[in-house]
């Protein structure tokens, strides 16, 4: 066996990237590649086993009530369809403000997520409710357009008053190893999302959608997470919701590890948004358990963790009503919008 007594000369002395490593990473295309490929690997079997094990947590009674309200307050209530109309968006905004019209103690959702042309409608409908408007941009969902078109798409949404921009990365570039191109594009979109100083509100927060269902491996998810964070993402988001699989628990786990490690290294906190496929209260609570036991308390807040969903809200409301009344109500007792 020839590998006996092998020694290490490649200078790997750290599991985590160091601050110096992060500074170095963004200097050149080759250093970026070296950095991303130097991140510790993810063992698929182990990551999936850990996520499955956390999914067996039993959240009951007071803990369940608390988690349901938190989950509602973290929802980015979403409609991203070709058939969206102003009427549909207004209805969704009404739902966002008072998810359970019969119960004023029910929290509002965090944001409404729409296509850029619907931003003005949503802004107007939400008024001073404090609910934010997130707009997808950058040729969502495929991201297949020239940079200037993506920039114009973003600028439109920002000009219309979007508080948050959900961009997609160029998966083709990522999968062909052109990390610098992905990086530069995120940086450019971040600039396009900025508002001039003295504007009546700050820059739009940038959520970077990795579309993990197209990146496939957890190693890729970890690399894309770091790439997005290095380029200035305020949030990293799993999916567009248009590709299966979308937000699986192990993918969210790997992304939560990434934001935790990124803050340890750089001091900057980045949020996480699983989106797509989270339909039941059980799914939502499992996500919160992942947050709690991976990234910790600091992320258990709508500023740092969001859930992109549409049908989830009614299931949470149904569970919420069940806890307060002791009975399940039929689906017709919850509004369809």
């Amino acid at each position: 066996m020839g590998v006996s007594g092998e020694t290490y000369t490649d200078g790997v002395t750290s599991v985590l990237p160091t601050t110096a490593g992060v500074d170095e990473a963004t200097r050149s295309e080759s250093s970026l590649r070296r950095f991303l490929h130097g991140l510790p690997g993810v063992d698929q079997v182990g990551a999936e086993a850990r996520a499955a094990s956390l999914a067996t947590r039993s959240i009951k009674t007071t803990a369940k009530s608390w988690a349901i309200d938190l989950a509602i307050s973290m929802i980015d209530l979403t409609t991203l369809e070709g058939q969206d109309t102003p009427g549909k968006v207004r209805a969704l905004c009404a739902k966002a403000k008072a998810p359970d019209p019969a119960d004023p103690t029910c929290p509002q959702v965090a944001a409404i997520c729409v296509y850029p042309d619907m931003v003005p409608i949503a802004k107007q409908a939400l008024g001073s409710s404090g609910i934010r408007v997130a707009s997808v941009a950058t040729a969502f969902p495929s991201g297949r357009a020239a940079l200037d078109i993506k920039l114009a798409d973003t600028a439109d949404a920002v000009a219309a008053g979007a508080d948050e921009i959900d961009m997609v990365i160029d998966r083709g570039a990522f999968l062909s190893g052109r990390y610098q191109a992905v990086f530069d594009e995120i940086v450019a979109i971040k600039e396009a999302a900025a508002r001039p100083e003295g504007a009546d509100k700050g820059s739009a927060h940038l959520k970077v959608i990795l579309e993990t269902g197209e990146l496939v491996t957890y190693d890729n998810v970890r690399r894309a997470s770091w790439l997005a964070m290095l380029a200035g993402a305020d949030f990293i988001k799993t999916s567009t919701g248009k590709i299966q699989p979308a937000a699986t628990l192990p993918v969210t786990l790997v992304m939560l590890e990434a934001v935790r490690d990124f803050r340890d290294t750089t001091g900057r906190q980045v949020g996480v948004k699983p989106a797509g496929g989270i339909r039941t209260s059980k799914d939502a609570i499992r996500n919160l358990v992942l947050v709690n036991e991976t990234a910790g308390d600091d992320w258990l807040d709508p500023d740092w963790f969001r859930i992109g969903a549409s049908s989830l809200l009614n299931d949470l409301l149904m569970q919420r009503t069940k806890i307060s009344t002791g009975r399940y109500s039929g689906p017709d007792y919850f509004t369809l919008d």
């Binding site: 066996m1 590998v3 006996s4 007594g5 092998e6 020694t7 290490y8 790997v12 002395t13 750290s14 599991v15 985590l16 510790p40 690997g41 993810v42 063992d43 079997v45 182990g46 990551a47 086993a49 850990r50 067996t56 947590r57 039993s58 959240i59 009951k60 009674t61 007071t62 803990a63 369940k64 608390w66 988690a67 590890e257 919160l288 358990v289 709690n292 036991e293 308390d297 258990l300």
Partner: protein, 477 residues
């Protein structure tokens, strides 16, 4: 912590505890003729669960005679296909009663319900299903065209996985046509007695399985009984040596599965988050009451500090407490005696100069508890690096090169298991060839499967249990 999990206890009502239990001999629960009784307590609360019979030598003799009769008249002559039917039936009943058995195991042993529910009991059924499949195919197992059973097996099992160790012992023995007299550990008799009920429920012919409860003396009477053909023991190396001496010069076949001090080896290119999970699972699974526990962490020196920081952060999230709470990760130490041993060895560790760190956790006031603990700055010369603690205590050592890792991993009187964490496939294969341990896990730890043989090198014992290899111990091969 913002997200407080409310208590989520599994209900005890599914378990029907009797105030006292007799012995299971020749298909019936009977009183002792020359024994006594003792109390079995729940280690989490010190509550008395039941009175258990301590079988005397006369009881053991009755049990062996019943087993002999059953072997000669019924079980030995029975076709493999017929024996398989009984084993399949037992496996199905185990699955049907899984929840009850899990609650009973957690009550009696102190292990968290999520482990008894998700690991122990499913594996118990899996071992019976697996060996049921072999019962009519023994001629194809590689031990000759028509291998014969040995006769009566005397089996003594430990308290760490009470029902699972019973399955490891009884399933292959029965599949091969032997009958058994099994003695569970004195602190954990209840699931073995529940298993006796299952044998009745399955209409297993009387005498094929006999359960004699008791402590060391009962075990000795069984192992030394003249009419026992085969001795199988899982437990401490000390008792294992005594058994080896006791059967020396007889024609009894013996398998011993004894202690361990496994190295869990983490290289600098390991998938780090999963390696941390593997370290935790290696030593805190079942409170570290695992013979193959990864109780020595060998971490490459260049990444040792970061691995330890991450390990401590992870350990701080371990939930220690009520074994019946579905969110408990680490349960109670099985007995006051074991707790005293863990405390004593931990104090030795400190006295030897190693640095002790325990996860911040509140321990219940009653019952037997020990917090998840690591010792850093441990060297090969320290007793906590050499002796089996059999508790939630990890000794951390460092290495510089793969060769040094192998040298340190093998430099122990034991050799039951080892773990290797690296992203490099060639290194995994090389390490697996170099490590003198019965099981080598790569990028995982404490995984069990009925198809896989399990057993030790050196003072960890001899013979293999599980898989095709596990049949050999119960066949005249």
């Amino acid at each position: 912590m913002a997200f407080e999990y409310a208590p989520a206890p599994e209900s005890r009502s599914i378990v029907d505890l009797q105030s006292s239990y007799g012995l299971f001999i020749d298909g019936a629960f009977v009183d002792t003729t020359d024994g006594r009784s003792f109390k079995s307590v729940s280690p989490a609360t010190e509550e008395v669960l039941a009175e258990i019979t301590e079988a005397g030598p006369g009881d053991v003799d009755r049990a062996v005679k019943a087993a002999r009769r059953a072997h000669t008249r019924v079980w030995g002559p029975m076709s493999g296909a017929e024996r398989a039917k009984y084993l399949y039936r037992i496996a199905r009943i185990l699955q049907e009663r899984a929840r009850e058995l899990a609650v009973l195991e957690s009550l009696d042993n102190g292990k968290p319900i999520k482990e008894s529910r998700d690991v122990d009991v499913p594996l118990v059924a899996a071992y019976f299903f697996y060996y049921a499949g072999w019962a009519d195919k023994l001629g194809y197992a590689g031990f000759g065209p028509n291998p014969k059973s040995l006769g009566v097996a005397g089996q003594v099992i430990p308290w760490n996985f009470p029902l699972l160790m019973l399955a490891w012992k009884i399933a292959p023995a029965l599949a091969c046509g032997n009958t058994v007299v099994l003695k569970p550990a004195e602190t954990t008799s209840l699931t073995a007695l529940a298993f006796a009920e299952i044998c009745q429920q399955a209409d297993l012919p009387p005498g094929v399985v006999n359960i004699v409860t008791g402590a060391g003396d009962t075990g000795r009477a069984l192992v030394e009984h003249d009419d026992v053909d085969k001795v199988a023991f899982t437990g401490s190396t000390e008792v294992g040596k005594a058994i080896a001496r006791a059967v020396a010069g007889t024609d009894k076949k013996v398998t011993l599965e004894l202690g361990g001090k496994a190295a869990n080896i983490v290289f600098d290119d390991a998938p780090i988050d999963q390696a941390i999970e593997g370290i935790v699972n290696g030593i805190f699974f079942n409170q570290g009451h695992v013979c193959c526990a990864g109780s020595r962490l060998l971490v490459q020196e260049s990444v040792a500090d970061e691995v330890l920081d991450r390990l401590k952060r992870r350990m701080a999230t371990l939930r220690v407490g009520d074994p019946l709470d579905k969110n408990t990760d680490v349960g109670a130490i099985n007995s006051a005696e074991q707790l005293a041993k863990i405390r004593a060895l931990s104090e030795v560790g400190e006295a030897e100069g190693a640095e002790r760190w325990s996860a911040p956790c509140e321990l219940p006031e009653r019952g037997f508890w020990f917090p998840p603990t690591i010792f850093t700055g441990v060297s090969q010369a320290h007793r906590i690096a050499r002796e089996e603690i059999f508790g939630p205590v990890l000794s951390v050592l460092t290495f510089r090169t793969p060769a040094e890792a192998v040298e340190k991993a093998n430099n122990t009187p034991f050799g039951l298991s080892a773990g290797v964490w690296t992203d490099k496939g060639s290194r995994i294969l090389w390490m697996a060839n170099q490590l003198r341990a019965g099981v080598v896990w790569a990028n995982t730890f404490n995984r069990f499967d009925p198809t896989s043989p399990f057993g030790g090198y050196k003072e960890s014992g001899y013979g293999r249990e599980g898989g095709r290899h596990g049949l050999e111990a119960y066949l005249n091969a």
